[in-house]
Symmetry: D3
Subunit: 243 residues, 6 copies
């Protein structure tokens, strides 16, 4: 099967990292295709950028001209998943939901460690709407911006570990979710340091997407995620070559 | 003061209706400017279109080159308000929140009557995130699409009244919120028929926006709605003349 | 239009302060009438006194013999608003609800700073019932009694600012509500110090009451706030001259 | 021990019924004293009357000049209990809370059957604040006013049984609480008809009050229910002979 | 009346302590019978042991061959109460629920002080399901294992008092529930030290069980707690002499 | 990898059906081992039987003497999963949680269709504790006992389809979860009839268990699910040959 893993920002190197992370757990026979939006911010750390990401992700998925079996939206706490679910017949998995769903199978409560403080309410709100927030002990910010994760991996590791440890000891989290697509690959190190299971959203999403495909399950079309009605739309789809 | 009232769809006649409705309650000295997005759907009835609306609204507000004191987002249950709050220093009022806030001052519980069944979960989710859902007795769909409201006002009226009455008698609503910008102007008729206060989001939002401006209050910038960080963004702002 | 602003305690100087604060934001043409209950405590800081306030407020509003268009109950977290809503045909706005409603338009979460620790649960409970508690980050007490606010304004200011700052930094509040009618007038100073919008309930309530009147909206009478049934009542209304 | 059972309305015959009901389950050695407020309505069916009841009950308890060990407030869903808890050192039990507390020991969910539809939100709100609402399947109104219960017991019985049966079959209630002090004595008949345990608030409160006294437990005085602070109060206590 | 007080662990000395505690408050004419399971752990501090306790308690109650009027399950936060409610016609009271029910009559919020940190989530979950968690300020662990309570009473007292004080001052608890059957007897000492009412689950449960019996109330049999259906069961009841 | 799929009742033919269903979706290289408890009821439809199942499942997993990589508890809404999580180092997946987790990726809300009405509250409670209940539209009973599913598959199909359709049309469910291990294999038929995705817990659990194993994730051991402490336990483990 072919799974599209869509970055939410326009930084190709992050797309590459995410796709590699996805491939590291994909089942034999699963092809991972990494996509980068042609519209949007170089990193997503707030509502304005998150709404751009929603459109950027939908655009690049709709512009992809080969068949595929599932889509993973690889941004933590971003908007847009519901739009993709309307547009597509194949299953859509957001890494925010994927990480929380698996974390809840592993412990009584989980915490998310993310990048900047300003993104904490976005993640909380997305988990609330997803119905996955009740057992969330906390969402904590490492204080590092998305692009700093790439630039300073060791500093990032320390900052994330510090918050993970605080989540375990102060908030009573029993599992840590890595709250940023760009944290892919740090999970084993953090697990060792924090002493609890660490769930990376990208790899979690790959196994969930594969699960849905194998089970023949896809998005319900009876109500919320029914195909958009036929109507006149201005400025969409984006013409090729722009952005 | 000048208040921008931004439609969420691209249908100019609806922008006209909404702006007229806004003017009908604006205080002396308040200028209402109606804006129509140059990107988006002719009507918004689902997540894909709602995410387009989020971008379309931000685009047309940012492209507006005169000073203004507040913005009203005139779509019921749509995405985008948080992005505007980041981008602007002036207050932003969404008609979904405005209607619910005033309705809660008038009765123990309120219901929303909207257009199509598929939009009900969007409205519920927006009210949930806004923290205004606890006293919502129900969100009911009249079964009429947004554009049918304009085409068949008397049929629309009957369908909306039927749901308003069901909300009052079955769901124990004590106030009705009109759940669509395009319903502007029907409130007095429905109030007469349903026997309870009827809150129209557009007029509610005008008085709330004026209130905030008079009180010198605007969006908090300390965390969630801080200005977006300076960064490279592709495909934004939209160039003039496209869409 | 004429708006009655009713103090919840029997201290005339506080009524005067509240009325002046109300007048400072009232629209041209709005007359503010300050009323002081003839029954009740010199300050309200607990349930017993709050229940007396409920009766004292209803008594003085019913004894007012001129026409009026709206009533503001100017006590933070006190009982009684629902009774007024039954007795009157004009809208009733409690400053607790007013401040929270506007605060929620300005930030992702808000905190209340009030007087004594013992009043915190009353405020929390009133906000819970009003359906406005979900986005309340905290209710914090400055430790100063109501009458100390009048006697020592600079000490009061420091104590309130300290709690406002703690609310912003520890509880992640993005907006502060002043949780006492007697704090009227401190909002600009606190805003400057705490760096976030500060909502004063009295001024918020004035604009909300004006909004409802302008929109032709008043309390729903179909159920919870229907007129009291005709029946024999002992000891009510209070005879003139007592209290 | 001596327990004061305080009616919330001014109808002496209801006080008599309630006190007799209390005596029917009181332990040997427990003296039941029925009190009737000298201020308030002949029956309590709404917020205005409920606030009068709050004061009326506090007044008649404070005017009682003999020692007592506990107080029962015998109105379903009325205000005032928190005020009594501040004023007194002995335990205070409200029949609303008492019935719900015992009902929750008997089944997975319970319903309340009360008098008029307009009192339903009051009861729901009191149960919400008491923290006893989560397992409440419904609050249903028989449509009979309080005084009709006394005048037409057999008609009352039928109306209450009909709602109790609807609660069991439609709302999945497993226990019924009688939601009115005036329903005292109907419990055995309704239990037989509805096939589920029926909890009467007055008798439940007697055993709970006795339990607290026997265990040497009374209201916590550290915060919410601390003694009112010494201050000047106008019009209180009510002079003897008025009302 | 005869009340069975069933220990959840297999340590006879704890059964003895619990039964003595129960007798200290039982009404004249109430006989307390202490039962010790023949299956299970010497102390219960986790899910595995708690599930064993569920079976052990049901086994020893079903094996008891004399008539009885009520059963008290004397483990804090353990499984099993629902099974007993199905098997028996007489009322069943769990000490977790009993303590919380009475605590909520005494203060605006309560905390539980229990033994080991690992049992905290079990207690929280049991209170959540019981519908008694909303007003729980915290569940705190003293860090002492169940059997250490017996071995080192003075050390236990200090550790419990420290947590009780933290609950009052940091979590704003107004009442403390002793979260372990083995803490029976420490309540008076802790009350004196922490300055708030202290509710012991065993004595609370005795008065609640007596209350239900006196009121003629027992478990509803219409749905959740209906008698188990007749069916083939392997390995149950346990034969005499094993374990 | 080897996954143990443990039936919660003692009926071998149901174990066989469940194991076959599990094998139908297992990845190449995954060995499914079906286990039947030697203690417990022939079908589980209530709390007493569910607590027996908790012990029966733990017993047969602990008695299994070969290595394994994950355990699936194949009973819908039963007790015991937390105990297994303490005892084992490998991941444990309950089919109740598995079905809900995947259903939430497919639609805005889901419903469960189960067997007898009396099991509905058990399922609701397990979903509540699992933090997966918020988006549950309803739990509906087909009215057929577990063993009737095996005896009358066509009658079962009709009864389940009827409830699934009611869930979609009345409760607005967008996905259906089959609420009984014994319903394994009916999913395709019901999906065709009800028009929405149908999630079978057993197959969902297989893919989730495989996911966790592939990701190297297992139960957190820092708190709730830490290994039971070493202590004396009576009657456990069950001796071989009994039951």
């Amino acid at each position: 099967m072919r799974i599209l893993v869509v970055n939410v920002n326009t930084t190709e190197s992050i797309t590459h990292t995410i796709a590699e992370q996805a491939r590291s757990v994909a089942a034999p026979g699963t092809e991972i295709v990494g996509l980068t939006p042609r519209l949007g911010a170089e990193s997503v750390e707030g509502n304005f950028e998150s709404y751009l990401a929603a459109i950027g992700v939908m655009d690049c998925v709709m512009a992809y001209d080969q068949p595929f079996d599932a889509v993973i939206q690889a941004g933590y706490g971003e908007h847009g998943r519901e739009g993709l679910q309307e547009l597509l017949d194949v299953p859509v998995v957001d890494i925010t939901d994927a990480a929380a769903s698996l974390a809840m199978l592993l412990g009584h409560s989980y915490s998310v460690v993310t990048t900047l403080e300003r993104t904490v309410p976005l993640i909380q709100d997305r988990l609330r709407l997803a119905g996955l927030y009740q057992r969330c002990a906390s969402v904590r910010a490492s204080g590092l911006a998305v692009l700093e994760l790439e630039a300073s991996p060791s500093r990032a590791l320390e900052a994330i570990v510090a918050q993970a440890e605080a989540a375990v000891h102060e908030d009573k989290a029993e599992v840590i979710c890595l709250g940023c697509g760009g944290m892919a690959g740090l999970d084993a190190l953090i697990r060792e340091r924090a002493g609890v299971p660490v769930v990376d959203g990208v790899t979690a999403a790959v196994t969930l997407a594969e699960s849905l495909v194998r089970l023949g399950l896809s998005t319900s079309k009876v109500r919320t995620y029914a195909k958009p009605r036929a109507k006149q739309i201005k400025g969409w789809p984006f013409e090729h070559g722009r952005g």
